[in-house]
Symmetry: C2
Subunit: 654 residues, 2 copies
């Protein structure tokens, strides 16, 4: 672990101290965490080992067949993660090798801790995009920010696991998710246009600036890169479709059929590696010197493993005048800002979805969250950028017949081998080919197909989706996501504040008229009570004076504010000689109404009970005086409204 | 309107231009607004005048008796607002006359536009406190900020009226209101300690700093001020109780009884004016020179009316080194920050409460909002700080027998007279007396009595109240209020996300077991669907495999995310050979489920229908294949989870 490439020198200089610290702190964090989480598991000592390392159970009865299956799946996933890792690191604004540094820790950690065989953890396009917002400050600050963000994400995820906050992802509705992924796909796609067109300069996460810069430099498009890029995209899309074409069925010979369909599967699944390999060979043959090369190449990829070291808590960035500006830890944190919270939530969202898709409902979300968290924390000690479960690679893993999470270890070994042995050849990968890999991956993430059913059955839900999409493009994906969730939450609050009231004027069997109000909501809370009050007022002015019956059959809960509001409504109506009855009220509701208002609300079980009750109260106002001892001041009898309390503050004399 | 006092000179210099502009812009704003709001009222022309100026209706049949009643009430309110205005201006960090400048516009505007005779609009302790956060920057920036805030509040309130956002006050629950008013009362009370103790230095809105400064300077307490302050408070509290003592009833002579109770009422109601008057006379007799004076006095109050001028959109503040730092309009806005939104909301909250308390449900909230808004906008042209309805003065107005809002005009005239004629004498008012007026006003606003019923019937609601109270004291009232509302909203979202699921294993009459799940919530939206899914999984693992019946009798609404989640739950259960039925589902729900998932959910009306349906589907898996055409990819049959969409973004191959 001490093979340091040129740029790692700064890290290596004081690497010995860092390394030692890193080596010693890793198991401590790990053990402390799991001990915390598993306080209940007190049986000793073999069982507690499997609690700490649930991966041990995979080794029980691990047969040669299992190993072969895992090996094949591991290698297949490895062939996918190699080009993706290089590409996503570039997308994140880091040198390509950081993508590979990010690709091997997750596999090993998940093999030890995870419980779903298909899940593979590593760099993803979305996290790379979110990381890229913090890597553009020049000097060696890019990796410093990326790795610190990885560590913080892991810690935040651990906190979410401990506090069981994984449920926060429930707040992200499907339309918001679709808006978010579509916007992200558009941003990632356009950010790769530069690579595809052969334009120099880094890719950014800012949609508008990227588009402006691309269109401003259209005259400098390089024909070689453009051709290679377009051809690569076409080939990738064709190979992707190949899997669904049933060519093999036309061949009669069963063995040939199997062989053909097998090779089609291999070619289609390994298409990224294939395209990158072919284009690299092409570039290698064409590019004897830098100048004569028709493609922009990836450039030197640092060979060797990353050093095991603490993330850097200080860095220097390039100032406006080209000067070096040192950044303290606090400044780094303030630069990362909301990303420190939003990135982990997005990571958890993705990971939860994958483990749910492949593992069903039997998985422990907390355990999965711990595995993800430690993949990030441990990764940060190996210069990883933030990682999470990759849906596409998990699908490849599943399709390749993986049997246990140990398959991830084989992927990790392949990545480490590539870092040690293949790195010198990575420099010949044309950037246009990597851009093509990313574009043909994200192009399918722009989801139009959800718009139609939404339009047909719930148009209102298009709004949060549209807000998320537009704001993600215009301002940034984090803001877009937050605004979308905010719009959804606002709707939830609106529903609680403005319950549908069904109002009808009915008659009992003996012909006594009454007004039935039925709130179609399971609770009456503070934001709704004024609405109910004004609804009853309106009903009275529409239908004329009659006893009011509030049907509480569907209402399970009142809060204090609503109960007090009911109390003042009761008194207000009583002053107008209108009795108010509750119908089918649960006992809890009667209790909270009584405790909050000191009024015994007359309660009925069916409308026909009304008659006898109303007869018993011929002088309703008198009746009120008896049952409502709260009315203290004559002058301000009606003053019991909710918000009233506030304005009293302006008081002095009275 | 052109009598300018010394400090107003700067305004007067370019006052002519400003004045003209002010005079011309006021009616334009007013007419444009009302025309906008009353587009529907198209009848001409007399009726449209009364639409523009609803106050005209008060003049119809305005008798001499009405005029006398209004005059008495107006003078009584005036005697309350004079000391309060002087005190609240000091609380806001402004010179005393600004409190009077703020006290006459509201009465006139409300007489023209308002519809509730009791409401009086003017300065209040709460708004003064909120204003004081922006008046401490030295030089002449205090009035500039206060007046600008008044203008902006008016404009924001107008916006709220047009967008019908007055309902935002519904979001403030009773516990939050109580926490907020109590914290504000504590802050205002402590801010007056300095005046009461005779300590020099301005009062602030920061509770912690104020306490620190008071306790740090205890050695400098002045005996004269302290004595006067304590005596004043005692007298004020005694006079306040006087009204409730039934002394008069012991007198036999009816006329003497009336006279006595009348004078008791006058003394009790006018107690603020009385205390201020007596202490001022005392100070005038004692203080021949500044040095020999046992009390700190209010100091010179500028005589004369405020000039009619545009609010200042630029100002200069005192820099750190005592230099003058000019502030542009943008800098002023950024200093005002969230106050520009929160102050109007608080103002509306207070005003809505008062008009509801006195006017009942018959008032138009929009019209009240427009009246409040224009009181602020017009006020800003007369150097007013933000104003709203005052609960205490409205109560005085009501008790004094006011008959029409024209009473407010008499108050305004009294204030204008005081500004012209009495101002020279205001300088003798001891600060301690004004502090006593404020303290004995706010001391009753600390509400303990709401804690007991809350504790007994809804302990959870203590939390938002406590958050509001503590955070208001620790950080600031705006933040405290926002956090309290945030806690309440979080609870609403939590309720929607975690509906109570009642789960039971039952049998049909023929003995067929089934699991009945009944969500006790009126809707299943995005945050709840995972909860329902895992609830059903748990029920299956607890009760064993049996058909699952989801009772939708209380569920009125599904959203798209929840419908999709139900779809994947259906398929997941089908794979485990567990059929899922909906019971008593509304038609709307069936439609949205069908449109979103393409699955025909089997629906029953009563559990006994189960048997025949289950018999019809002996091969349940086959049945699923036929009715679920959405399942496209064999490999990812289960991949339909909500959040799944997101993680797909990481895709490439698969």
């Amino acid at each position: 672990m001490n093979i340091c490439a040129c740029e790692q020198r700064t890290v290596c200089k004081n690497g010995s101290r860092n390394s030692e610290f890193g080596v010693s702190i890793l198991p401590v964090i790990y053990i402390a965490t799991l001990v915390c989480l598993q306080r209940r598991a007190r049986t000793m000592p073999l069982k507690s080992l499997s609690v700490l390392l649930p991966g041990i159970k995979w080794l029980h009865g691990y047969t040669a067949q299992d190993a072969v299956a895992d090996l094949i799946a591991g290698i297949t996933v490895g062939l996918t993660v190699l080009p993706q890792g290089l590409a996503y690191a570039t997308l994140a604004g880091l040198e390509p090798q950081y993508g590979l540094y990010s690709s091997f820790v997750g596999g090993i950690v998940y093999a030890m801790l995870g419980s779903c065989r298909q899940v593979t953890i590593g760099p993803t396009a979305l996290l790379a995009l979110m990381t890229s917002r913090h890597t553009g400050f020049g000097l060696d600050s890019g990796p410093a920010y990326g790795i610190l963000l990885c560590l913080i994400s892991g810690v935040v995820e651990l906190g979410m696991a401990v506090l069981k906050l994984g449920a926060l992802v429930d707040l992200i509705s499907l339309p918001v998710t679709v808006g978010f992924t579509s916007a992200t796909a558009v941003i990632i796609g356009t950010s790769q246009l530069k690579g595809l067109l052969g334009l120099r300069g880094g890719s950014g996460s800012d949609f508008i600036n990227t588009m402006r810069s691309v269109f401003g430099n259209l005259s400098q498009v390089r024909r070689g890169d453009l051709t290679l890029g377009l051809v690569s995209i076409s080939v990738l899309l064709l190979l992707r479709r190949l899997k669904t074409v049933k060519v093999a069925q036309r061949v009669r010979n069963l063995r040939a059929q199997q062989l053909l369909s097998g090779s089609i599967w291999v070619v289609s699944t390994g298409r990224n590696a294939l395209v990158v390999l072919v284009s690299s060979v092409l570039a290698y043959s064409q590019c004897k010197s830098q100048d004569s090369c028709p493609f922009i190449l990836t450039g030197k990829v640092k060979s060797g493993l990353p050093s095991l070291a603490l993330p850097k808590f200080e860095t220097t960035i390039m100032g406006k005048n080209g000067t070096e500006v040192p950044q303290t830890f606090e400044q780094m944190l303030s630069e990362l800002g909301p990303s420190m919270l939003i990135l982990p939530i997005i990571a958890v969202l993705g990971n939860v979805a994958i483990s749910k898709a492949f593992g069903g409902a039997g998985l422990s979300p907390t355990r999965e969250l711990v595995a993800l968290s430690l993949s990030n924390i441990c990764g940060a000690f190996c210069s990883s950028m933030p990682v999470t479960g990759s849906f596409s690679r998990s699908a490849v893993n599943h399709a390749s017949g993986v049997r246990t999470p140990i398959g991830g270890c084989y992927t990790s070994v392949l990545v480490l081998l590539a870092l040690s042995l293949l790195a010198p050849y990575f420099q010949y990968i044309p950037k246009a080919a990597l851009s093509a890999v990313i574009i043909s991956a994200v192009i399918f993430m722009i989801e139009f197909e959800v718009i139609r059913p939404l339009w047909r059955c719930s148009r209102r839900e298009l709004l949060p989706g549209a807000i998320t999409f537009v704001m993600s493009l215009a301002i940034g994906v984090e803001i877009g996501l937050l605004l979308g969730v905010g719009a959804d939450v606002a709707f939830l609050v609106y529903r609680a504040a403005r319950p549908v009231l069904s109002v009808s004027k009915l008659q009992t069997i003996n012909g006594m008229s009454y007004i039935l109000i039925r709130p179609k909501h399971s609770s009456l809370y503070f934001p709704a009570i004024e609405w109910v009050r004004s609804g009853i007022s309106k009903a009275l002015s529409t239908h004329g004076t009659a006893p009011v019956v509030l049907d509480c059959a569907h209402v399970h809960d009142f809060d204090f504010t609503a109960a007090r509001g009911m109390g003042s409504l009761y008194k207000e109506l009583a002053k107008a000689n209108v009795p108010l009855f509750l119908m089918s009220a649960h006992k809890d509701i009667s209790v909270i109404l009584k405790e909050s208002t000191n009024i015994d609300f007359p309660t009925i079980d069916c409308p026909n009970d009304l008659e006898s009750l109303v007869e018993q109260m011929p002088d309703f106002e008198l009746h009120l005086q008896v049952t409502a001892p709260l009315v203290e001041s004559k002058m301000l009898q009606t003053v019991e409204a909710n918000a009233t309390e506030l304005s009293k503050l302006t008081t002095s004399s009275a």
